[in-house]
Subunit: 234 residues, 2 copies
Amino acid sequence: MKKSSINSPESPTPLRFAILATDIVLFTIFDGTLYVRLMTVNRPPHFVHQPGLPGGLIRPDEIAEEAARRIIDEKGYINSKKVYLEQLFTFSNISRDPRGRVVAVGYIGLISEDKLTTKEKDGKGLTYWSPVHTAKHLAYDHDEILATALKRLASRVHYTTLIGQLLPREFTLTELEKAFESILGNNLDRRNFRKKILKLDIVKSTGKKRANGAFRPAELYRMTSKKVEEIEVL
Amino acid sequence: MKKSSINSPESPTPLRFAILATDIVLFTIFDGTLYVRLMTVNRPPHFVHQPGLPGGLIRPDEIAEEAARRIIDEKGYINSKKVYLEQLFTFSNISRDPRGRVVAVGYIGLISEDKLTTKEKDGKGLTYWSPVHTAKHLAYDHDEILATALKRLASRVHYTTLIGQLLPREFTLTELEKAFESILGNNLDRRNFRKKILKLDIVKSTGKKRANGAFRPAELYRMTSKKVEEIEVL
DNA sequence: CCAAAAGTGTTTTTCCTACACCCATGT
DNA sequence: ACATGGGTGTAGGAAAAACACTTTTGG
């Protein structure tokens, strides 16, 4: 099928495009804590210097995911090629944007700390990383979007290998456990956790070790696959 | 926050609405087989008498789910109040509609046979129930939407009590098992299935029995809760 | 030698799986 | 009495859960 133009001549009623937006919930983990990328929204009179998720309009020639990547680049100041993306949910409440009717396709983005450049780790302009538990009172309906994303992330982590997208290429089993705990919000039994994970064959040892202080160095592991697989994990 | 008009006077650039549509994958189970509601699409020159999912535009004053319900009423000829709805995915491929750029928020709808009136069980106009496995070569990108819905349904049925939305208020354990099998596509061990389900307390016996032929009548059960709960089921 | 995190094993209990025969009914 | 689907139990193995001490290192 040939690509048609927006207002196709064969169309009886020409179709107009659309106030369609995308909002991104971009997560990373620093030091065992889950962070989300926020930006300061300044849209008086509605939002004055208030935190919100990076978001923006989808253009008529973009699919939603392309738009999401563009916005991660332009507003999140993160190279979106390094980000794993999954569609979250489409938010269509009438008054979610006080400027008028805007429907937003939400995305979850995941990036690991080791993929971030020094500049990307810091903020840039009004964009910065915030620990998830302090990300409250966001602009628009972004509290709801963030809550939906957290719930989805916690659910997906049980039956997929999504967690690998939040971890550096090499990581210790303790780091893996802390990553789960930061998402699930509860503590896991170290011994049982290791037994389970190792039996699943989703990680493999590198043989290397990492000394991290005045104590026994930890063995480094990698994900067996770089892809996200659907497997019962926890 | 007050409801704002579409083109809010406080908006610097007035916002226009949108070619936003919704497509519905409405499932039911008749006699142990999964059916999907289809309609005949006639949009020459692109689609001539071709099956497709019920769908239509979202209006500027509707949230997506309201639009989905309206379309179930108007194009599916099913009273949407009786339908359980869940957002599926938003499909935004540029050429998914040959008439022009149309982004569709997909919904999964579930309804049980006993909630359908005789008229709703039959087709009406060009709308009808089709066994899922014969629903192929659909218009637009509806093959993809249906495949996405089936995958989601199979996944959700494992860790929610969604299956209850496809079953009549009272059902036998055999019917419940067949419902799972029609969605998952594999057979389950009857004894182990019953043990598992009964232990979960998601169904309760009514004490009643249903004679269905020249053999032992089956005990009738109900879902413990009418709501969809998130529990590890299978 | 001390502090700190890494690493490891056993027991108990629960759950999963495989599998075959009797039960209740209508004709 | 027979055909048909409904209904049940057990044994073996696998997985989960609970639980505490030893190891390795840097300072």
